[in-house]
């Protein structure tokens, strides 16, 4: 038996969600509806029990500064600690990697003409740890291994949506050639519409976001062709993070079934989007 990708998840990774979780504020009026949309997923995840999650996210000037800017980077280390983002590290478990699978994927991707940056040591910031909190709550240890896959969406140009999709397809080929019977999920994180800078800050585009969520199952080929300028105009300067969802979607193959979906405005400056997609064969 080979490894298999069974499902994909999309989720925002807003830092304030981590604060709300860490300081037990999720029952407050501001947060109740936002977190309730993840209850279904927490129950489903407890049944699915993935062995490994490939977690696509972006670093927010935590592990990477301006000295080097990898477009696609894969974490091949044994363990990744929560980053100190300026107010001390989050009090969440360390992230335990899967070096065998991560190195396997890295090698396959390079031969498949995706020239990955390989990372053995780094800390992981809210982009990676907030989705874990949203999907797993507050366990003493995360219930699966996690392979961080970091994407540059800060310095332009970030990768195109189509390139992200193709990387997802290549990741799926790599996973399917790993000779262990393990259940792998892939998560795409970030978004949805938000702009954190300038006089236009606070932009939210519910209609656009929901069409994006619709088309992850209805018309994913449309999503591959969305140019950067459309994300910028329609979803705010930080909405570009949604290209990372296309790595997840590309890895699931042509047919998926939407199992769960949640959309909420606001969390801090941002629209929260979340979707669970089952891979169909």
């Amino acid at each position: 038996m080979m490894a298999r990708i069974t499902a994909g998840i999309g989720s925002s990774h807003i830092p304030l969600l981590g604060v709300a979780s860490d300081f037990d504020k999720t029952g407050e009026d501001y947060w109740r509806d936002c977190f309730a949309g993840y209850d279904w997923t927490k129950r489903w995840m407890a049944q699915q029990r993935p062995d490994v999650v490939i977690l696509v996210y972006n670093d927010h000037a935590s592990a990477f500064d301006m000295r080097f800017i990898p477009t696609f980077a894969i974490g091949c280390g044994e363990r990744f600690r929560p980053a100190d983002e300026g107010w001390g590290p989050r009090a969440v478990p360390d992230v335990i990697g899967h070096p065998d699978l991560a190195w396997h994927i890295a090698q396959c991707l390079v031969l498949d003409e995706f020239d990955m940056t390989i990372i053995n040591e780094m800390d992981v910031d809210h982009g990676l740890t907030v989705p874990l909190s949203m999907m797993f709550g507050k366990p003493d240890a995360w219930p699966c291994r996690i392979i961080p896959l970091a994407v540059n969406v800060v310095t332009y140009p970030p990768p195109t949506g189509n390139r992200c999709w193709l990387l997802g397809e290549a990741i799926a080929r790599a996973v399917e050639s790993f000779p262990e019977d393990i259940n792998v999920q892939i998560w795409g994180t970030g978004g949805m519409s938000h702009q954190l800078q300038g006089p236009r800050a606070g932009l939210i585009n519910k209609a656009w976001d929901n069409r994006f969520l619709d088309d992850l199952s209805a018309d994913p080929q449309r999503l591959r062709r969305i140019p950067h300028i459309e994300y910028l105009r329609e979803t705010g300067s930080e909405g570009i993070e949604m290209v990372m969802w296309l790595i997840m979607r590309g890895a699931l193959g042509p047919r998926v079934r939407q199992l769960h979906r949640h959309y909420h405005v606001p969390a801090s400056n941002t629209a929260v989007g979340h979707i669970v997609l089952e891979k169909l064969t």
Partner: protein, 134 residues
């Protein structure tokens, strides 16, 4: 590549109230962003808080960049090559949340900005394109 880099970059100038973090901005703001990054370390935060201007002496920022940081003029910092995720180290050290700091760039009070977000955020209508006014 189906589009020239010149055309790709030119589009970004047509978005109202937005500075896209292009290579040109990244180059201009290199030390501004690296300075901000240094505030990730607690000992540096202590030195910064004790004497901000003296702390900046160690960094090759332009006088305009130094003044913008000291004034916490984040729109000016963006104009001078700052990136919001790096500048976040400065406002986090000040004890400001993203929402509080971001609101200062909009010309709105923090209360009005928060109310706008609770009401569903800023509509994209009218702020998609300078040229087309849509």
């Amino acid at each position: 590549m189906t589009q020239s880099i010149q055309d790709y970059l030119a589009q970004f100038e047509d978005i109202p109230g937005t500075r896209v973090f292009t290579a040109a901005r990244a180059r201009r703001g290199y030390w501004l962003n690296q300075f901000a990054m240094s505030l990730m370390k607690p000992e540096n935060r202590d030195r910064w808080k004790a004497d901000e201007r003296a702390y900046l002496e160690d960094w090759p920022l332009s006088p305009e960049q130094k003044d913008a940081v000291l004034a916490r003029d984040y729109n000016r910092c963006l104009d001078l090559g700052g990136n919001i995720y790096f500048l976040a180290k400065v406002f986090s050290t000040d004890g400001l949340s993203f929402l509080q700091a971001v609101s200062t760039m909009t010309g709105m009070s923090v209360e009005d900005y928060q109310a706008m977000m609770l009401a569903g955020g800023r509509s994209p209508d009218g702020v998609r394109s300078i040229r087309e006014g849509i």
